[in-house]
């Protein structure tokens, strides 16, 4: 084939342009660690990466939700556990009262139960992150209020909250609530902690009844009425502890699952969009060598001319 003078220059320009473009692309990949930056670099990988990143963001949010629910569950557990101590002490007092013959001792126990009621109200008004644990979905309203007479005795404890709980999403379409309703008077849904129609629990009423019977030194009522009722309260508290444990276990399993999934997603993104640094470096080096060879070869060819040999 006949070779015109400008063929060398045209070819060199074209080759250098291609090689410079490849060098630039490889240099960008090596410096960013990414094989693709824009959708046009590799549309199918871009689609995969965008979907994975959206999924990762969602999973990250689910993990945040789980973390917050675990915090709530822990705070709730602390409160229920304290309530269990109160219920246990009340049952203990019932047993002690049954064996007592001294009326004064019954009065002292009556006073102690009154203090237990006040402590139970304090527990019922516990907060976590400045939110009442047992207020339901009413915000800013103290869940339980109590009235006392002149002698400081609790005369009434009333519930100001509602029986609903908030749920949050921990997986697509899957919601969970670590919140416990203080009261359930309908018999449907999650059991109430202080008042529950299904289990027969009504802690404040039952404690006040016990206190009154102790004050009245009515051992028969303590034995026949208060004991079975407070046993129902104790059973309900134990049920709530078990339920709380189950929720925490579920949340922890979900958290572990998402951690594993996040790890997989990270790998997936790296596989799809990450640049293999070793391979990229080798290809960059090859391209640089080719660039040098093109310059060197062309400069040698182009520097030769028949003119050099003509006198």
């Amino acid at each position: 084939m006949r070779v015109a003078f400008n063929s060398y220059a045209d070819n060199l320009t074209s080759q250098l342009g291609d090689l410079a473009s490849r060098q630039s692309q490889l240099q960008l990949q090596a410096s960013s660690g990414q094989r693709i930056q824009n959708a046009s670099d590799d549309p199918s990988s871009m689609q995969e990466v965008l979907n994975v990143q959206a999924q990762a963001k969602q999973i990250n949010q689910y993990q945040n939700n789980i973390g917050k629910q675990l915090d709530l569950a822990n705070a709730t557990y602390t409160a229920i556990n304290s309530l269990k101590t109160i219920a246990n002490r009340a049952n203990e007092i019932i047993t002690l009262a049954n064996d007592l013959t001294s009326p004064d001792r019954l009065t002292i126990y009556g006073n102690e139960v009154d203090e237990l009621i006040k402590q139970a109200v304090t527990i019922a008004n516990s907060k976590s992150n400045n939110t009442y644990l047992f207020g339901g979905t009413t915000a800013g309203v103290t869940p339980y209020t109590m009235e006392v007479d002149d002698s400081g005795k609790v005369t009434n404890v009333s519930f100001q909250g509602n029986e609903s709980v908030n749920s949050v999403e921990i997986a697509p379409g899957t919601t969970v609530s670590a919140q416990v309703p203080a009261s359930n008077t309908s018999g449907t849904g999650q059991r109430g902690l202080f008042t529950d129609v299904t289990s027969g629990a009504d802690l404040f009423t039952h404690l006040m009844s016990l206190r009154d019977h102790l004050s009245a030194k009515d051992s028969k009522s303590i034995r026949d009425v208060d004991r079975p009722l407070l046993q129902e309260d104790s059973d309900n508290v134990l049920y709530q502890i078990g339920f709380n444990g189950a929720i925490q276990a579920r949340l922890q399993i979900a958290q572990t699952q998402w951690k594993g999934q996040t790890f997989n997603l990270n790998n997936q993104v790296a596989d799809e969009s990450g640049a293999d640094l070793a391979q990229t470096s080798i290809r960059l080096s090859q391209t640089q060598t080719a660039y040098q060879a093109a310059l060197q070869g062309s400069s040698k060819i182009m520097s030769m001319s028949l003119l050099d040999y003509l006198r």
Partner: protein, 475 residues
């Protein structure tokens, strides 16, 4: 026998012939860097012989023509490919502008908003995609604490950021469209100028031909102009009379019998979509190649479709979020307010009254339960809802599809350009091989003509000596 006088004349003609050869070589060397130039050769033929007693005797040689070495088939092929290349380059340039306008890129060096540094290292995606994901993610966070005014503010600010990104991209698309229209106007101006120049060259070539000369340099210039015009719009070139060419575009004659009969102009169809038509004929032109066709196609197909899809996404986001939000109750017990305002990517915004007072966000399902998060949760769960109008995709999936579709089209153009470069390069190499100037060849020819000139001069000087000899014989 032709005699000394005739021999002297032969020598003189030979000197002239070799001199012309040297001139053509010089012209070739001077045009070595002129890409439109086709090398030339002097055509030398034997002069008319005379009859002598011993037979026909030659009378030397004459330079009868300066021939241009050109392959017209290759020229036509290159002209055709110029339209394809022009179209693809224009499309690539427009696609790059659209990709930049969309502003969607991957960044693995930074974490997305709200990601924990230890767990998620999938990176972030700049653009609307990230804003959509963050918006729904923040709604989830708000569902954990629906009465928090600071968290409500965060959601509203993030929602406004999302709306602003939609506005920005819609605005960028309009800017790209306006830029493409301007580019189309500029290309029409260039094409009209080229048409004028081609018509003028036609005239000059016809004049030269009618005088019996070969206007090689004018033909070179016209070939270059035709290729420039072909890169702007696909043209049909046919040979006319006296070396002139006729040019037509989409069946409409623009240069007829070598004369400019019509030009191009743009017309606005009323929707800021400039289209092409002939100025005199008023005929709409439906181009099938060239930069102008690339611009129109990218603007009216790719960009228009992208804009429609983005508006569909924005309007569905507005209606879905508003439908859920309107059923909720604010911290003050109000209901029925929209979350987003507007109906497209260009005018989406967050309800101003909510922005002023975050307590008006309607996140509760009951006016009596301010702490209820049902509506916040329902809004957050829209992230995973398949929307019928979005081809049963979620918002995020639909946006990803939009980005990937653009990427596929852009990648396809890039790939076509790579292939086209090879075709163009091969054709250019073939044409250069035929028509390009080789300095080695020219130097060799120069030597050849130089030696022939020297030899011709020797003939003249020898004849001169012979004359002297004859004259001395008489004296």
């Amino acid at each position: 026998m032709i005699g000394l006088n005739a021999l002297l004349n032969l020598g003189a003609r030979s000197l002239q012939t070799q001199s012309q050869g040297t001139e053509v070589v010089g012209n070739n060397i001077a045009n070595v860097n002129n890409s439109a130039y086709a090398r030339q050769r002097v055509v030398i033929t034997s002069a008319t012989p005379v009859s002598t007693d011993i037979g026909e005797q030659g009378t030397g040689a004459d330079a009868v023509a300066i021939q241009q070495i050109r392959d017209t088939v290759l020229d036509k092929q290159i002209q055709g490919q110029a339209s394809t290349t022009g179209s693809l380059n224009a499309q690539q340039s427009a696609m790059q502008k659209i990709e930049a306008a969309l502003g969607q890129s991957l960044d693995q060096t930074t974490q997305s908003t709200g990601s924990s540094a230890t767990s998620d290292s999938t990176g972030t995606q700049h653009g609307i995609g990230d804003a959509i994901n963050t918006f729904f993610s923040n709604l989830q966070t708000l569902a954990n604490d629906p009465t928090s005014l600071s968290q409500r503010k965060v959601v509203l600010m993030q929602a406004q950021d999302l709306a602003s990104r939609f506005n920005q991209v819609a605005d960028n698309f309009d800017t790209v469209k306006s830029g493409l229209n301007t580019q189309l106007d500029n290309d029409v101006t260039k094409a009209n100028q080229l048409l004028k120049e081609i018509a003028k060259l036609n005239q000059q070539i016809s004049d030269a031909k009618s005088k019996g000369s070969d206007p090689n340099d004018l033909i070179d210039a016209r070939t270059g102009k035709l290729e420039d015009l072909a890169s702007l719009a696909k043209i049909d070139v046919t040979d006319g009379e006296d070396g002139a060419v006729n040019v037509a575009m989409d069946g409409q004659n623009l240069i007829t019998n070598g004369t400019l009969t019509d030009t191009l102009m743009t017309v606005d169809s009323g929707t800021d979509q400039k289209l092409l038509q002939t100025t005199n004929g008023g005929q709409s032109l439906n181009l099938t190649g060239g930069a102008m066709q690339g611009i129109i196609d990218t603007r009216d197909i790719t960009l228009a479709s992208l804009k429609t899809n983005l508006n569909t996404l924005a309007s569905n986001l507005i209606s879905e979020v508003n439908t859920v939000h309107a059923t909720g109750f604010s911290l003050n017990g109000e209901s029925g307010a929209d979350f987003f305002e507007g109906d497209s990517a260009g005018n989406i915004s967050v309800n101003a009254s909510l922005q002023q007072d975050p307590s008006k966000l309607q996140l509760s399902s009951s006016p009596d339960a301010k702490g209820d998060n049902s509506i916040a949760l329902a809004m957050a769960q829209l992230a995973n809802k398949s929307i019928t109008d979005l081809n049963d995709q979620t918002f995020s999936q639909n946006y990803t599809q939009l980005v990937v579709t653009l990427g596929q089209e852009s990648a396809s153009i890039n790939s076509q350009i790579s292939d086209q470069k090879i075709v163009t390069k091969m054709l250019d190499q073939q044409r250069t091989a035929v028509s390009g100037v080789s300095l080695d060849e020219e130097m060799t020819d120069l030597l050849t003509y130089q030696k022939a000139y020297q030899a011709s001069a020797k003939i003249v000087s020898t004849v001169n000596e012979m004359f002297d000899t004859v004259l001395q014989m008489k004296s």
